[in-house]
C-alpha cells in the first residue's frame, strides 16, 4: 500500500474514533435510584438520567390546564422532587405507584422530559416499603 493511502486511512479512522467515543461519552443515559444519586451528586448533574422510584403519597400536584406535574419520588431511603411540564400523566400513574422519569437534574429538582410507567400484565406493584433494589429492578424493566 502506498504511504498516502495509509495516511488517509489513519485520518479516517481517527475521525471515526473521535466521532464514536466522543458521541458515546456524551450520550450515555444513566439509570439510577434516588439513593444512588445522593452518593455521587456531581456526576449526574447536567446529563441525561433515567431515575426511578415510588410516587410519594401526598406530594402529587397536577394542573390539567398548564399541564404541569409535580411530585416526589422515593426509593424508601432518599427522595427527589420531580417537575414535569407539557406531559400528561399516563393512566397507570398515581401515588404509591412505581414510575420512571427521564430528564436532567437542575439543582435539587429533577426536570422530567419523559414519564414512564411499566406496561405489563404480569407486573405486580410491590407492597408497602419499597427498597432501592426493587426500584432498580423497576428502572431496568420499564420501557
Amino acid at each position: 500500500m502506498k504511504p498516502k493511502y495509509i495516511v488517509g486511512l489513519v485520518v479516517v479512522a481517527g475521525a471515526l474514533a473521535y466521532l464514536i467515543f466522543g458521541g458515546l461519552g456524551q450520550n450515555l443515559v444513566y439509570f439510577i435510584t434516588p439513593s444512588e444519586y445522593f452518593q455521587q451528586v456531581e456526576r449526574y448533574q447536567n446529563r441525561a438520567v433515567r431515575l426511578g422510584g415510588l410516587v410519594k403519597p401526598g406530594t402529587l400536584e397536577y394542573n390539567p390546564q398548564t399541564l404541569e406535574l409535580r411530585f416526589v419520588v422515593t426509593d424508601g431511603v432518599k427522595e427527589i422532587p420531580i417537575r414535569s411540564s407539557g406531559t400528561t400523566p399516563p393512566a397507570l400513574f398515581g401515588e404509591n405507584r412505581g414510575v420512571v422519569v427521564e430528564g436532567r437534574f437542575e439543582g435539587e429538582t429533577f426536570v422530567s422530559q419523559n414519564l414512564l410507567v411499566k406496561h405489563s400484565e404480569t407486573y405486580q406493584a410491590p407492597k408497602e416499603g419499597w427498597t432501592p433494589e426493587q426500584v432498580r429492578k423497576l428502572i431496568e424493566e420499564t420501557q
Binding site: 493511502y5 471515526l16 443515559v29 439509570f31 433515567r50 393512566a91 405489563s120 428502572i139 431496568e140
Partner: protein, 663 residues
C-alpha cells in the same frame, strides 16, 4: 388427532428430517455420490411439508380456540377478530421461531431445485448441508426449549390475549413476515459462500448469490420501511425510528448485505474482493442471528422484547457457530484468494469498495452503540443506555459521505478517469452547491440545506448517466430518444434498477432530514367545545364518547380541524382521536390519527380525558414535514429492487453466465 399433537409430532419429524438431510449432504460431499444429493433434495421437500403441517396445526389451534395448547393459551383469545387470530403465530416467540423455520425450509427447498443446475454438484451438497444444519438448530430450539405445542393440563376458558401493540394495526400482519423473509433469505447467500469456500470455487458462486442477496435485501428493505410506518402510526410519538435495539437488529444485516451487493459487482466483473465478499455475507447472516439473540435474550431491554425466553443462550451458541464456520473457512482459504491486482481508488471499483466500507463501518458503529451498555456495566457496574442522539450524531456524517459516494460511484468508469467524467462530476458538484445555497436562502438549517444539495447532486448524477446512454443509443441507431430510453431500460435492468433504488435512497434522506429537523409537538387540554388555535390550525374538541368493540374498549374524542393559514394547509377534516383499552393491558393505548399531505403530516393523539364527567381531553398535535415522502421512497426502493429481479426469460441466465455483462 388434536392440533397440539399434530403440531408436536410434525415438529419432531421436521427435526429428524433436517438432521437426516444434513447427514445425506455430508455423504454426498464426501463420497461424491449424486444419489445422496438427489435424496437430500427430496428430503428438503418433505421437511418443508412437515414444517408447513406444524405451522398449519398452530393456525388450526388458534382458529379453533384450543386453549389446551400452551401457545394459544398464552398468546390468543377467543374474542380476537379473525385477522388477529390469523397473524397470532408470529405475535410471540415460539410461533415466530416456527414461522422462521418454515420459511427456512422453503428457502432450502428452493436451493435444492437449483442443485445440479446453476449450483454445481461440487457446491450443492455443501450449500444444502449448511441450510439443513441451520434448520436443525431452529427445530431443535422449538422441540427442546421453546415448544409452541406444550399441553396445558387444565385448559383455561379463554387465553391471555395477544399483545395489544400488535393487534392495534394491520401492518403487524405484514411487517414481521417481511422481516423473517429477509432474515431467513440471508441464510442462502451464507450457504453459497460456505459451499464456495469448502469446494474451493471462488468465482462461480457470486453470480447467483448476488441474486439471492438482492431478494433478501428487498424483503429486509420492505420490512424496515413497514416497521417505520407501523411505529409512526401506532406508537404516538410522531417518530419512526428510535435506535431501539430491535430496530438496530434489523438495520445491521441490512447494512452488511448492502455492502456485499456493492463489492459483489466488482468480483462479478473483475474477480476482485473475494475475501471482502465472503466476509460481508458471513457477517450479514451472523447479524440476523445476533439481532435475534439481542432481542430475545433480554440482554438489552427493548420495547420489542415482548417475547423474551430461555432461547438466548442457544442463539448465542448458534451465532458463535456461524461466525466460526464463515470466518474460519475464510482464514483457511485466504492465501488462495489473494487479490491479483491493486485496487484503483479513483474508479468504479474503488468507489464501490469505499461505499461498502462505509456500510460496514456504519454496521460496526450500530453494533458498538447497541452493545455499549453491556461494556459499561461490565467495566463500571453502572447501568446505562445509549441514547438515540448518539446514533443520530454518528449517522449524519456517515450518511453524508454515503450520499456523496452514491452519486460519484456509478458515474466513475471501471477504468481510469477520463475528461468526460470530470465534466460530469463538475456538473454534480454545481448541483450540490446550488441546492445547498437554495436551502440556506430559504432560511432552512444547514443540515437540511445540505440534504437538498445532496438530493440535487444525486438526481443530476442519475440524469447525466441516463441521458448519456440515451443520446449515444439514439444517435448510433438513429431512433428517437424515447425509444432508446425504453430499450435501454429493458436491456440494462440492473443499471436502471440501481438508478431507481439510488433515487429512492436520496429521496428518503431528504425526507429524513426535513422530518427530523422540523418536527413540532404541542399539547393542550381542551374543554368540550373549546377551540385551540396553533400552527395555522383551529382545533375544536367536539365531544367525548366511548365504544365497546369485540376485543377492546375505546374512548373516543372527535375533533374538528380547520386550517387558517398556509402553514396548516391540508389538515381540514374531522378526526376521531381515540384511546384503546385492552383487557390484558393495564393502561390505555393511544392510537394516533394521521392526516397525510404532500408537505406536512398532522398527527393527533388523545393523551388523556376526563374519566369522571367527560368535560375535557388533552390532545397532542405533532406536525412533521415530508414524512409522506419517506413511504414513497421506501416504495420506490422496493420497486427498483423488483425491477432488477424481475425475470425476463433467457436474458437473465445469459447475463448471469457472462461476467462481462454485469452492469
Amino acid at each position: 388427532m388434536t392440533p397440539g399433537l399434530l403440531g408436536g409430532v410434525s415438529l419432531v419429524a421436521a427435526l429428524i428430517l433436517s438432521a437426516l438431510g444434513l447427514v445425506l449432504a455430508v455423504l454426498a460431499y464426501s463420497l461424491r455420490d449424486g444419489r445422496y444429493l438427489e435424496a437430500a433434495k427430496r428430503l428438503s421437500l418433505l421437511t418443508l411439508l412437515a414444517a408447513a403441517t406444524s405451522f398449519g396445526a398452530l393456525e388450526w389451534a388458534i382458529l379453533t380456540d384450543d386453549f389446551s395448547v400452551s401457545y394459544v393459551a398464552n398468546h390468543s383469545s377467543a374474542s380476537n377478530p379473525l385477522w388477529v387470530k390469523l397473524v397470532t403465530p408470529w405475535a410471540a416467540l415460539e410461533g415466530s421461531i416456527l414461522l422462521w423455520a418454515l420459511l427456512q425450509t422453503a428457502y432450502t427447498w428452493l436451493v435444492g431445485l437449483r442443485a445440479g443446475q446453476s449450483l454445481d454438484v461440487w457446491r450443492a451438497p455443501v450449500a444444502l448441508g449448511t441450510l439443513f444444519a441451520v434448520q436443525v438448530f431452529f427445530f431443535a430450539v422449538m422441540v427442546f426449549v421453546a415448544h409452541p405445542f406444550d399441553a396445558v393440563p387444565n385448559p383455561p376458558p379463554d387465553g391471555r390475549g395477544t399483545n395489544p401493540l400488535l393487534q392495534n394495526h394491520w401492518m403487524m400482519a405484514v411487517h414481521p413476515v417481511l422481516m423473517y423473509l429477509g432474515f431467513v433469505g440471508l441464510s442462502v447467500p451464507f450457504a453459497y459462500a460456505v459451499a464456495a469456500m469448502v469446494a474451493r470455487r471462488y468465482q462461480s458462486w457470486i453470480f447467483e448469490t448476488r441474486w439471492w442477496t438482492l431478494v433478501a435485501w428487498g424483503f429486509l428493505t420492505a420490512a424496515i420501511f413497514t416497521g417505520k410506518w407501523w411505529s409512526y402510526e401506532i406508537l404516538g410519538w410522531g417518530g419512526y425510528w428510535a435506535w431501539d435495539p430491535v430496530e438496530n437488529a434489523s438495520i445491521i444485516p441490512w447494512l452488511l448485505a448492502t455492502a456485499f451487493l456493492h463489492t459483489a459487482q466488482v468480483q462479478e466483473r473483475k474477480g476482485l474482493f473475494k475475501g471482502w465478499n465472503f466476509a460481508f455475507i458471513t457477517l450479514a447472516f451472523a447479524a440476523t442471528v445476533f439481532g435475534t439473540f439481542l432481542t430475545r435474550s433480554g440482554v438489552i431491554q427493548s420495547v420489542h422484547a415482548f417475547a423474551s425466553g430461555p432461547v438466548g443462550a442457544w442463539f448465542l451458541l448458534f451465532l458463535l457457530g456461524v461466525m466460526a464456520v464463515g470466518l474460519g473457512l475464510l482464514a483457511r482459504v485466504s492465501s488462495e484468494i489473494r487479490e491479483a491486482g491493486e485496487v484503483r481508488w479513483k474508479s468504479r471499483e474503488g468507489a464501490l469498495l469505499a461505499g461498502a466500507l462505509f456500510f460496514g463501518t456504519f454496521a460496526f458503529v450500530v453494533v458498538l452503540g447497541t452493545l455499549w451498555p453491556l461494556v459499561v456495566e461490565v467495566v463500571s457496574g453502572a447501568k446505562v443506555s445509549v441514547g438515540a442522539p448518539f446514533f443520530n450524531q454518528v449517522s449524519v456524517p456517515l450518511g453524508i459521505f454515503m450520499l456523496l459516494l452514491m452519486g460519484i460511484g456509478p458515474v466513475l468508469p471501471w477504468r481510469n478517469t477520463q475528461a468526460e467524467v470530470v465534466r460530469n462530476l463538475a456538473a454534480m458538484l454545481v448541483a450540490l452547491g446550488v441546492g445547498t445555497l437554495l436551502g440556506l436562502a430559504l432560511g432552512l438549517s444547514l443540515g437540511v440545506s445540505l440534504a437538498i444539495g445532496l438530493f440535487a447532486y444525486n438526481l443530476t448524477a442519475i440524469w447525466l448517466m441516463v441521458a448519456q446512454g440515451v443520446r449515444e443509443r439514439s444517435r448510433s441507431l438513429g431512433i428517437p430518444a424515447g425509444q432508446a430510453l425504453w430499450e435501454l431500460a429493458a436491456s440494462h435492468k440492473r443499471r436502471f434498477g440501481s438508478h431507481i433504488v439510488h433515487f429512492g435512497v436520496a429521496l428518503a434522506a431528504l425526507s429524513i432530514a426535513f422530518s427530523q429537523t422540523y418536527r413540532v409537538t404541542e399539547q393542550k387540554t381542551l374543554q368540550v367545545g373549546e377551540t385551540w388555535q396553533t400552527r395555522g390550525l383551529e382545533i375544536r374538541l367536539l365531544s367525548i364518547g366511548a365504544r365497546e368493540e369485540s376485543n377492546r374498549f375505546a374512548a373516543i374524542a372527535p375533533i374538528e380541524v380547520r386550517s387558517t393559514s398556509r402553514e396548516g394547509w391540508g389538515a381540514d377534516g374531522r378526526y376521531e382521536t381515540r384511546l384503546n383499552f385492552y383487557p390484558q393491558m393495564g393502561s390505555p393505548l393511544a392510537t394516533p390519527v394521521v392526516r397525510y399531505s404532500l408537505y406536512n403530516d398532522y398527527y393527533f393523539v388523545l393523551m388523556q380525558f376526563d374519566q369522571e364527567k367527560g368535560q375535557w381531553a388533552t390532545i397532542k398535535l405533532i406536525v412533521t414535514p415530508m414524512v409522506w415522502w419517506l413511504w414513497v421512497a421506501g416504495l420506490i426502493i422496493v420497486l427498483g429492487t423488483l425491477y432488477i429481479l424481475w425475470p425476463t426469460g433467457a436474458r437473465v441466465t445469459s447475463r448471469q453466465m457472462s461476467p462481462m455483462a454485469g452492469d
